[in-house]
């Protein structure tokens, strides 16, 4: 099957949100997606993008207009002050029916190349420990589990806690 890997464009935003929701459903966290197409457009294609996206599209059978977005990766650059720039892989998803065709590996190869070209010393991401297929997929490719090996735990403040913390102190 012919597929093409390219940088996402504003017109891809509806497909990006569709795939984000599909992945969330797979992770049983569908109700947590509050992101909208408007935010994705502003945040990814404005003056200062918060994220970058590459997508995989396949040529339809019928005509050249019949193209379908079947996979994507959302990433951004982060910073580890001990070793420098990192490429952070926020989302990586290939539709169920298009797996096993090398699309996922192709996306990872493209991103690893980009990481090396941009002087990143590593590619980082988060995986849920109960997502066995994904954990194995990454470990087979040499990823280290920093939570298990070094004891790093991810902590999070949600919006409400942020508001409380931002309030001026009574002291």
């Amino acid at each position: 099957m012919e597929y093409k890997l390219r940088k996402a464009e504003p017109r891809d935003v509806p497909d990006i949100l569709r795939l984000v929701k599909e992945l969330a459903k797979y992770e049983e966290m569908e109700h947590q997606v509050t992101l909208t197409e408007k935010e994705l457009l502003e945040d990814g294609f404005g003056d200062t993008p918060f994220y970058h996206c590459i997508i995989t599209e396949i040529q339809g059978e019928k005509s050249s207009e019949d193209r379908k977005v079947v996979g994507f990766a959302m990433y951004y650059f982060t910073y580890d002050p001990w070793v420098g720039k990192q490429l952070y892989l926020e989302e990586f998803y290939v539709m169920d029916e298009y797996r096993g065709l090398g699309i996922g590996s192709g996306i990872l190869r493209n991103l690893s190349n980009l990481a090396m070209k941009t002087r990143c010393t590593g590619m980082m991401f988060v995986v849920a420990e109960n997502n066995e297929p994904s954990v194995q997929f990454y470990k087979r490719r040499g990823a280290e589990d920093l939570s298990q090996e070094e004891g790093w735990r991810l902590f999070r403040f949600d919006k409400d806690s942020l508001v409380k913390m931002a309030a001026p102190s009574e002291e």
Binding site: T34, L40, D43, Y79, V83, E144, R153, L154, D158
Partner: protein, 175 residues
């Protein structure tokens, strides 16, 4: 106590704080975390990556007045290093990479004040979340943060932080 935000809107002219986050502060934090041999970044890297047109990180420094300076003459006694990130679920987010206060200035609200500043900046930029990591043995830090209202996403959702680097990254690029 004043908060200096050399990268943001309140900042003084560009470049006046070049090299403010000294590598020795990062090394102090790394030593506390027993990981000092992992600090490979140089003063030059920090200057280039934090102070160019599109910085890879931002920082806030806590500075005490002259009369409270340390024996060695330091007035900059704490800092936080953060950058903007993105959650595919909720959108704009902030990642706090480092938060450090020199031991002799702890217990005085400096850490809380630095975090409050990051929270304010996060909300001003339309962020919905603040993420960071802590080492599992670092009970004082975990207690401090849990007291501020966050939750442990590794314990509750099972999120593990993963990294591909060095040879593994090169292999992936050649797949």
């Amino acid at each position: 106590m004043t908060f200096l935000d050399p990268w943001g809107q309140e900042s003084q002219k560009q470049g006046s704080w070049r090299g403010t986050i000294h590598v020795h502060s990062l090394k102090e934090l790394a030593e506390y975390e027993n990981l000092a041999e992992h600090v490979k970044v140089t003063q030059k890297d920090l200057e280039q990556d934090g102070f160019s047109k599109n910085p890879f990180f931002h920082g806030i420094i806590a500075e005490v007045p002259e009369q409270h300076r340390t024996k060695e003459g330091h007035r900059k006694v704490g800092y936080t290093l953060y950058f903007y990130s993105y959650s595919s679920f909720v959108g704009r987010a902030i990642y706090m990479e480092d938060l450090y206060v020199m031991p002799e200035f702890r217990g005085k609200g400096v850490g809380k004040a630095l975090m409050s500043k990051v929270a304010q900046l996060a909300l001003a930029a339309g962020c919905h979340q603040l993420n960071f990591t802590i080492l599992d043995w670092n009970k004082p830090s975990m207690d401090f943060y849990l007291g501020q209202g966050c939750f442990d996403a590794t314990a509750t959702i099972g999120y593990h932080c993963m990294r591909c680097e060095g040879e593994a990254l090169k292999q992936l690029a050649q797949l």
